[in-house]
Symmetry: C2
Subunit: 521 residues, 2 copies
């Protein structure tokens, strides 16, 4: 008796194509595809990839906006055992080139928005490029002529994708996902946010970011409709919310933009929309504002290394009886393991569990099916992230008596701006490469719009005439725009006794009254 089938998220589409064949699966600009069509296109794309020499284990990179193309790649590439490498579309050409070389991409697929950049990268690195910019594109022609391919399901424990993170030590690291983890994560998301055949999921979150928290597969599993926003726009988001969207996901800074948008005025929705937020803690004030708009926010927590949300702030019925501000406080915590996740731990310096007192800070560690296989081609980084089989999140947290985790601070100094992680070390390296700079330190400054923005403290060589604007241009030429520090503070940097710059002190300095304008760029 065959009592085994591989657990892979690509399996969900087979079921949905069989039982939801005529339901709309994807809406992307003017195009709509039913589940039957989506399955046919994904099978044809798989056939085309195989016919063009993409084999099991080969890396296929995607430089794509949220689109039917990205959803199809999520199905077709893992289906044939190949490895999907979603690229952050906001990276610079040299950053993208590094990733493409590092993962050894065989093929780069790009949507219209990034066709030119992809073509440049392709010729620079001798990687084949396939552009999907409408019905006449190479991508569409391939699908039109390809033979449908199903074949055996890939091994559930094999490499399914590599998601590059900016990380905290400079160069991006390639987080390796397996099929089994993505399958369980997709199920957990479908369960926790209540996805169903009548769900209409709006793509505000980038799909290149931890596979959009595995929602491309979760919505497919439920038989819902995915509505793609090629780029985020608050007015268009409000239009879609009024048109029947039931679910979306976004970082708190994006939620702020939605709530603050002129389109939001007097716009409390008739139906509640379920919103998942993560990437940074939403403020209780934001949670309340969203609630007033009939946007029911669930707070999730995760990392690229955990397939996105490994924790969910699960609503407890007993909270109904509590005062509103107490509930806001409870809901702003990162929460509890999702239904398929293993229990997290918060460890003290000796590796023991901190008491569940909501006060003692330790490092959050996680293990189980929802943890990455490791960093691609980087055993040192993998080993450094491994504490006796538990993944070190690098986040400082407390464990509350009710079993909910709350993140207190980041162990390292990642700056989260507009939902994107900025490695302070990476920006510092670029600053330090300027001939007039002695040393630099970059920290986040709280910002109403972006959550945080990067601010640089820079020690210049004596006699140097460089300005903040000069340094900003220097960084902009080398890194994505969002990584460019918004302000520059010049002067000698403080140092600890071991020679490190105490970034907490710098953050404290920024939190004091406005810096002298003369010091700014």
């Amino acid at each position: 008796m065959d009592s085994f089938e591989q657990l892979t998220p690509v399996r969900f589409l087979d079921r949905s194509a069989a039982i939801f064949a005529e339901r709309t699966a994807v809406i992307d600009q003017g195009r709509r595809f039913t589940y039957r069509q989506l399955a046919e296109r994904a099978r044809a794309l798989a056939g085309s990839l195989a016919a063009n020499g993409i084999h099991s284990g080969d890396r296929v990179a995607a430089l794509c906006a949220n689109s039917h193309v990205m959803i199809e790649l999520h199905q077709a590439v893992p289906r044939i055992g190949a490895v999907l490498v979603p690229l952050n579309t906001r990276l610079s050409e040299s950053e993208l080139a590094y990733i493409l070389e590092h993962c050894g991409a065989r093929l780069l697929v790009a949507t219209a928005e990034y066709a030119e950049l992809a073509t440049q990268l392709g010729s620079r690195l001798a990687v084949e490029v396939l552009v999907a910019d409408g019905t006449e594109s190479g991508y569409e022609q391939r699908i039109a002529v390809a033979e449908s391919l199903d074949g055996p399901l890939p091994d559930e424990r094999s490499l399914m994708s590599i998601n590059y993170t900016s990380g905290t030590t400079g160069r991006p690291k390639g987080v390796m996902y397996q099929h089994r983890g993505a399958y369980l994560q997709a199920l957990a998301m479908a369960y926790h946010v209540g996805l169903a055949p009548d769900s209409r999921y709006l793509w505000t979150l980038p799909m290149f970011h931890c596979h959009g928290w595995c929602f491309p597969w979760a919505v497919m599993a439920a038989g819902g409709t995915q509505v793609c926003l090629r780029s985020f726009d608050p007015a268009e988001t409000w239009h879609q919310l009024r048109e029947g969207v039931t679910h979306f996901s976004a970082a708190p800074t994006v939620l702020t933009m939605i709530a603050e948008s002129p389109s939001a005025h007097g716009a409390r929705l008739d139906r509640a929309v379920r919103v998942s937020t993560g990437g940074a803690p939403p403020s209780p004030a934001l949670l309340r504002r969203m609630s007033d708009l009939n946007l029911e926010v669930t707070h999730l927590y995760g990392l690229t290394e955990t397939y996105g949300p490994v924790m969910v702030n699960v609503w407890q019925p007993e909270w109904e009886a509590l005062p509103g501000d107490e509930v806001d406080r409870l809901r702003a915590r990162q929460g509890a393991p999702n239904i398929t996740a293993s229990g997290p731990r918060v460890l003290d310096a000796e590796g023991g569990d901190v008491p569940s007192d909501g006060a003692t800070i330790g490092e959050l560690v996680i293990r189980g099916n929802g943890v990455m296989l490791g960093y691609y081609g980087d055993e040192d980084a993998t080993d450094a992230a491994d504490a006796d089989g538990w993944f070190r999140t690098g986040d400082l947290a407390v464990m509350h008596p009710d079993g909910y985790v709350e993140i207190k601070d980041r162990l390292k100094d990642v700056i989260i701006s507009g939902g994107e992680n900025i490695s302070s070390v990476e920006v510092e390296r670029v600053l330090d490469s300027h001939p007039d700079v002695i040393e630099s330190a970059v920290v986040g400054r709280p910002d109403a719009r972006w959550g945080e923005v990067p601010v640089a403290f820079v020690a210049l060589r004596s006699g140097a005439r460089v300005t903040g604007a000069d340094l900003a241009a220097h960084v902009r030429a080398r890194l994505a725009g969002y990584k460019v520090p918004k302000d520059f503070e010049f002067g000698e940097l403080p140092h600890t006794s071991t020679g490190k710059v105490p970034k907490n002190k710098l953050r404290e300095a920024l939190a004091r009254p406005e810096p002298d304008p003369d010091k700014e760029c």
Copy 2:
């Protein structure tokens, strides 16, 4: 990095004990246990079993009413890698003895209702017996003194339990379950019926039947409350429904008892209760009656061999726009694979797929993680049920164009009359649509001229004056003449422990000398 954890349904309680510690997990007669207490008791029970010589792979049988004991056994026995053997409490002593010997039980745990029977069985077979009949019982004493045991999780592909079928075609067969299959089934049930921390699940279905379709674990995973009914009682069920029950499961015959109960009169509930039904197809008439009471029925289909419901009649939003009787017809079908199940097939005599035309009949076959490992100690039966890796359900079905399966009859219940196949289910549906009929069962009676002729057993509403001739006319107006029952037997129908009408018993009754003509129409 540890990117793997065993998929076992016993893992859910660890999570719920951590994050739902003070929520009520189980209510059983006068006793209530929180999730913290349930987890402590289950760990102590596991410790006690291990301390008393129960090792990995040993069989522990349970002769228990729906109770906290049964829920604790579902956790503790698989937790230590031992094998749970739930016993059908309505079997005779000799049937139970056969099963205990066949599985080689090391220990028999019984609740008070079955203490005497268990003790007899224990001395007859030299099997240790542990009785749980209140706070002073041996079972409770063991838990009180045992050391808590966690230990490593069992292998997900190892034997977790043996569920004996009722054995309508001979000796009971022992259906072998693995951890992985039960884990995925529990997740699927939690997803499809929307179990959540505020769910209150009423145990009308026997837990000994396919582990209550894996709901003991599904409710634990969701953090809901399980309310145990030690024996089914319609009045008590109505009391519980009014007290806040949100979900229950039952066979259609049990739903009929609930709907026809005096307690139901004028009892439309304020809140909708989600009801899962399976084991036999609910008639459209029953679905409508339940709907009038605000009992929202979802039709599920499965077998002991598939961990219970491997298919779900998933509601399609498009059905909202259809006329009521059309919707009833669509909802009465067995449906689509559940979210973790693999797609079923309907095979013709040559082993090919029948067309998806809703008309061509074939045998339903299933494979994947939701299929048993095989029959314990019975390779012949396992081989006979295996069609090239697919499990033969023994059910005759059609595949509809929308991908939904509809069972036409059990292979062995089809009536062959004058060379024509008659689906007993089809005739029963027509009979059940008559306003005076509560339920019906149609079987074949040997006939010298036709081979077999259909005969109907019918339960009428009290005070009904309808005759066999009336019912024959009712059927003749709707179906072909050869499908009209030749005789009608009026009276209450027998039911098996799982709420099914035992058609083999009805056939046996017909094979005896001519029934008393007074009883006939």
